[in-house]
């Protein structure tokens, strides 16, 4: 295995290296902030719901206030689960989701070992133990500095567990369809056209019209010819542009 900057390169039996794009400080921070909000909300939600239920069942009051003295039931049903949700979120969720978390999914990243595999339970738990070091002196200061200065953008926990964060590929990356690829356009333009067509329903009419006109102009259509076309006609013109002349629609 060898590493190039910004990519993790893994040897394969075919002789063609597997290349995984490394996630940087931005994607990591985004994933962490998303996860932090999730565990905070989960922790508070449990506390609020359990405290309300506890107080209501005990003396019929609607309150989230803790009892005046140490109480085992309050501790076991309200405080411990809420704290556990907050502090054990990362190790438990990473184990259950094979090196991912909802925040990492949102940021499009996942944890892998240095040979591209999903990490084992030991590595995932160890990675989380070292959060103690990464969080020093405050607000993940050391972890952030390490992610910024290391070539593979790893924090101390990743160094210890032999893991890295890579971007997760998905089929949404493939904007081209077989029909569009058979056209006479160059590949870059064909990809842009296919992507615009795939996103067509999600864009506003004005935005998609502007993009369609720009792309059709790039395909050699004159501005005057495009002027009177409405929304549906622009979409049809894009589809036509990707087809070989004479091919069936």
């Amino acid at each position: 295995m060898n590493e190039a900057a910004q990519h993790l390169s893994v040897d394969s039996a075919t002789g063609i290296d597997v290349t995984l794009p490394l996630a940087g400080i931005g994607a990591r921070s985004y994933a962490f902030v998303a996860d932090w909000h999730i565990r905070l909300v989960l922790g508070f939600a449990w506390y609020g719901a359990a405290a309300l239920l506890y107080n209501y069942l005990r003396d019929g009051t609607v309150s989230v206030a803790p009892p005046a003295s140490n109480n085992a039931r309050w501790f076991g049903a309200v405080l411990v689960p809420a704290t556990a949700l907050y502090f054990l979120y990362h190790p438990v969720v990473e184990l259950l989701m094979r090196g991912s978390t909802p925040g990492k999914r949102l940021a499009g990243v996942r944890i892998v070992t240095r040979d591209g595999a999903a990490p084992g339970a030991g590595a995932l738990l160890l990675r989380n133990v070292f959060r103690l070091v990464d969080s020093l002196p405050v607000a993940y200061g050391l972890g952030l500095v390490l992610v910024g200065v290391t070539r593979e953008h790893v924090r101390c926990g990743d160094m210890a567990a032999g893991t890295v964060l890579v971007y997760e590929g998905s089929s949404s990356g493939l904007a081209l369809t077989p029909a569009s690829t058979a056209g006479a356009l160059d590949v870059a333009t064909a990809e842009l056209v296919a992507e615009l067509l795939s996103r067509w329903p999600r864009l506003t009419v004005a935005a998609r019209a502007g993009l369609a006109r720009a792309l059709l102009a790039r395909c050699g259509r004159a501005a005057a010819e495009l002027g009177p076309l409405d929304d549906a006609a622009l979409k049809q013109a894009l589809i036509e542009a990707t087809r070989v002349a004479g091919a069936p629609p």
């Binding site: 501790f75 076991g76 591209g116 339970a121 998905s170 493939l174």
Partner: protein
């Protein structure tokens, strides 16, 4: 045909294979999520791997900056992971941790454990001797409340359950112990010095408090309180100290592979023992909350519980039960 036209024709011919790539991705995903065991499908995944490698090599040359190449990279990586690493099952991972990784890690740590025990015992002996000779120095190691309680002829553990319920006490204790254990390990990051400091300080405190309590005739009572949970708790302190020391040594003497590689190797080797320590401390915390302070439980039972739990720890670290299972399976086959 011009070079540009040839390149364009080749690129379009390659892109026409997109459906094959999508099928390969779907097949690999089925295997990765353990949703298929079909042999024919598995053979097709192996074929996909070769086809994707071939197409990816062409895409890298013909379409280096395209989305199609990015997609192909991700599909190829997925199929590679499926073929080379199989599916991922949490249960199997945890069993592997228990059966293989923890015993292997403990075996590798043996010399470090021996040194950690020596350091801890020496520190405890030093603490004991110090406070035995100069009792006023106990103020360095114990709180004023603890000192006042012992001087009045009572252990601070007496009547503990009247103030805090067992469950609350257990959770507080196990949380605190796990954090101390993890900090002792992670302090190895400071070239092992942090670990040595925590190990030494805890040994000193233990010896000092025992000497102080013994001077007031409460030594046996404290030993009775400590024995049920202390056998494992003190062993775990030495284990996490040993693991931290191993990480520290890797940073001090990294060898030929460099400091980061040595740190990674040491952390991966010692990590499983630390996880075992955390699990053992949960049990020790429950014993400390429910058994140790309970005056209704006879001292002899506390001794039995302490020794039994210590043997459980030993079995976990040496892989005894799993070794027996493996041996039985081997003889059966």
């Amino acid at each position: 045909m011009s070079t540009n036209a040839r390149q364009s024709a080749l690129a379009h011919a390659l892109l026409k294979r997109a459906t094959l790539w999508q099928e390969a991705e779907a097949r690999a995903q089925r295997f990765r999520r353990a949703r298929s065991d079909d042999a024919a499908d598995a053979a097709r995944v192996a074929d996909d791997y070769r086809v994707l490698a071939h197409d990816l090599a062409r895409a890298r040359a013909l379409l280096p900056r395209s989305r199609a190449r990015e997609y192909l990279e991700s599909v190829y990586a997925g199929v590679h992971a499926t073929l080379n690493h199989g599916d991922w099952r949490l249960g199997a991972e945890l069993v592997r941790l228990l059966r293989v990784e923890i015993p292997a890690s403990a075996a590798w740590l043996r010399p470090y454990i021996a040194w950690a025990v020596v350091l801890f015992v020496l520190a405890a002996a030093a603490g004991f001797a110090l406070v035995d000779r100069f009792p006023e120095l106990v103020a360095l190691f114990a709180s004023p409340d603890l000192i006042a309680s012992v001087e009045s002829g009572k252990l601070w553990t007496e009547g503990l359950l009247n103030i805090v319920p067992s469950s609350v006490l257990s959770v507080q204790i196990l949380t605190n112990n796990i954090v101390v254990s993890l900090v002792a390990y992670c302090s190895g990051f400071l070239f092992g010095l942090g670990t040595l400091y925590i190990l030494g300080l805890n040994g000193l405190m233990l010896g000092a408090v025992f000497a102080f309590v013994a001077r007031h005739g409460l030594g046996a009572a404290l030993a009775t309180f400590v024995v049920a949970h202390g056998c494992v708790e003190l062993s775990v302190m030495c284990l996490s100290g040993a693991a931290g020391a191993a990480v520290g040594e890797a940073l001090v003497r990294p060898g030929s592979h460099g400091r980061i590689a040595a740190f990674r190797s040491a952390a991966l080797r010692t990590g499983p023992v630390l996880l075992a320590c955390a699990a053992l401390l949960v049990g020790a915390g429950l014993i400390e909350g429910f058994v140790s302070p309970d005056p209704r439980i006879a001292p002899v039972f506390k001794v039995v519980i302490g020794i039994s739990y210590w043997l459980v720890m030993l079995a976990l670290l040496l892989g005894w039960p799993t070794r027996q299972i493996r041996r039985a399976r081997r003889s059966a086959s």
